[in-house]
């Protein structure tokens, strides 16, 4: 996200004015995470809604289900 857009987002959300240096620093850190995240999301598309996560954990807890539920 470019610094100007981040400054506008933050102003809109919490009414705080970010300096250009702050916006650049925060935006750069976020961009690094976003870039690494996008790579793995592209390689493994598809998803499960977060409310179903517990059901997946419970399924994976059972040894009987080991290695038979590959995506």
């Amino acid at each position: 996200m470019d610094p100007e857009t981040l400054q506008a987002n933050v102003r809109e959300a919490i009414g705080r004015e970010l300096s250009a240096a702050e916006a650049t620093r925060i935006g750069t850190a976020a961009e690094r995470m976003l870039s690494a995240s996008t790579a793995i999301l592209k390689a493994h598309p598809g998803g499960v809604p977060s409310e179903a996560f517990d059901a997946v954990l419970r399924e994976l807890a059972s040894p009987a289900n080991r290695a038979n539920k590959n995506e």
């Binding site: 996200m1 995240s37 998803g47 995506e71």
Partner: protein, 470 residues
């Protein structure tokens, strides 16, 4: 019997129950040590001495009348200042919560109250449980009893410091990206990150519903097993708490591990650790091998992309959670914490939703790959020892590894898996080092079993820091 402050939680509870010591006597011992050492350590945010002594006297009277409230009857504990208690102020390590009095009590505290435990006060933490080095405008980070010029680790640093210095017998911390496991490793105590949803988060002042998790901390694995057994289980007040059955963790502790398989990491990853830590990890693996366990090298997936997903999710949710505080008290926040919160406004909503929804498949893939042949995974925890406080204050402290400090941590939170941090040695400078055991979902009993067996073979958890002798 040894000096009471050296007792484990299990020993302290037994001593009260069998009237070898009264709850009041034990509480006085703890308060005496807190008075002597906490001005230096800054482990406590608030000390409730009078209330604790009154509660101890009530516990003694109940016991004299034949009433035992529960397994922790009269045992003094203290918890990270992130769990609300009716009528009290929980700061969450932040000046922004000055004067905010709670009207409800966190389920974790209610469950320990019902077990008969006492509260000595609240423990220091990073602001909003952010940040592994412990930035905090209230008191600064807690100091490490093993070297008071170093940090105790964060964000549950007060819990770790108080345990290592023998000020308390057990504690609840929280872990969103290593906040239990970091301080446990850096201060030489045990900490458990439970499976996502295993413990209720009702009235825990969290930041991220996806990755926040409360968990027990203590000096021994057996103590953590007791605390987990009391804390785990569904809670109608927390819709994210799991209904998965709660195991009898105590009964699993002594199970033999001969013939079981432990996944270990190979030289490519170990080579990135400082030599002391690498040697301690390898020695721990050999301890298990000597007990008859098989070691199998796991070709571990790169944790960096998973850590990035965790960071994206955490930052997005934390920015939303704390938006009001940012609006009204932004200048009262620690600048590094505020800047991390603001990062949440830099992520597109679509990226956040995609990252949350990708979690289940990443977990399924990881579990199927790692646990197809191994019962449990043995990982390093923190890739270096505790840094010096002066370096933390000056900025990012130097660490002796190319790995990110949270490399072995955040990915586990994203995957929602349980992990147990266990002390496994001391560096050449005499600083604690630890490993972590990572299991399948809801495999806490297995983790505690492997951790306990390791502590039966070693004495790292029995060492007491210089200057904190009992």
């Amino acid at each position: 019997m040894s000096e009471p402050s050296a007792w484990t939680l299990v020993e302290a509870a037994a001593a009260i129950r069998t009237k070898q010591v009264s709850s009041r006597e034990l509480t006085e011992v703890c308060l005496g040590r807190i008075a002597a050492h906490d001005p230096q350590l800054k482990a406590f945010i608030r000390i409730d001495g009078d209330a604790a002594l009154t509660a101890a006297e009530k516990a003694d009277a109940d016991l004299a009348a034949g009433t035992v409230r529960g397994p922790l009857h009269g045992v003094p504990l203290a918890h990270k200042d992130q769990f609300e208690r009716d009528g009290q102020i929980s700061t969450c390590g932040s000046k922004t919560r000055n004067g905010v009095r709670s009207t409800k009590t966190a389920t974790c505290l209610t469950r320990l109250d019902a077990a008969g435990a006492l509260d000595l006060g609240t423990l220091n933490m990073s602001e909003f449980a952010f940040h592994i080095w412990g930035f905090n405008r209230l008191l600064g980070p807690p100091h490490n009893p093993w070297d008071v010029d170093r940090i105790a680790g964060a964000s549950s640093g007060g819990s770790a410091a108080a345990l290592a210095a023998r000020l308390i017998f057990g504690s609840i911390g929280s872990d969103s990206g290593g906040s239990i496991r970091f301080p446990a490793a850096m201060s030489g105590v045990v900490g458990l990150l439970p499976t996502h949803g295993r413990l209720s988060r009702h009235r825990m002042l969290g930041s991220s519903r996806t990755v926040d998790a409360p968990g027990p901390m203590a000096r021994t694995v057996a103590d953590c097993a007791v605390l987990l057994g009391l804390l785990a289980g569904p809670d109608a007040a927390d819709p994210w708490s799991s209904h998965h059955p709660v195991a009898d963790y105590g009964s699993q502790l002594e199970a033999p591990i001969a013939g079981k398989t432990i996944g270990v990491v190979g030289d490519a990853l170990l080579g990135k650790l400082p030599p002391d830590l690498r040697a301690a990890y390898q020695a721990a693996a050999q301890t298990y091998a000597a007990l008859g366990a098989s070691l199998i090298e796991i070709d571990l997936v790169d944790f960096e992309p998973l850590s990035a997903l965790a960071a994206l999710v955490f930052a997005s949710e934390a920015a939303a959670t704390h938006a009001r505080a940012l609006r009204t008290h932004g200048d009262d926040m620690e600048p590094q914490i505020r800047e991390r919160l603001l990062q949440g406004f830099a992520y597109p909503a679509a990226a956040y939703i995609e990252a949350v929804n990708a979690r289940a498949n990443r977990t399924r893939s990881f579990v199927n790959e790692v646990y197809a042949n191994a019962e449990i995974l043995l990982l390093p925890s923190v890739p270096d020892v505790a840094p010096r406080l002066a370096d933390v204050v000056a900025g990012t402290p130097p660490i002796a590894t190319p790995l990110e400090p949270g490399y072995f941590m955040r990915a586990i939170n994203y995957l929602g898996l349980p992990a147990l941090a266990v002390p496994c040695g001391f560096s050449g400078e005499g600083l604690p080092m630890g490993f972590q055991l990572v299991g399948r979902p809801f495999a806490e009993g297995t983790l505690l079993n492997f951790g306990h067996v390791f502590q039966c073979e070693t004495d790292f958890h029995k060492k007491i820091p210089n200057g904190f002798d009992v």
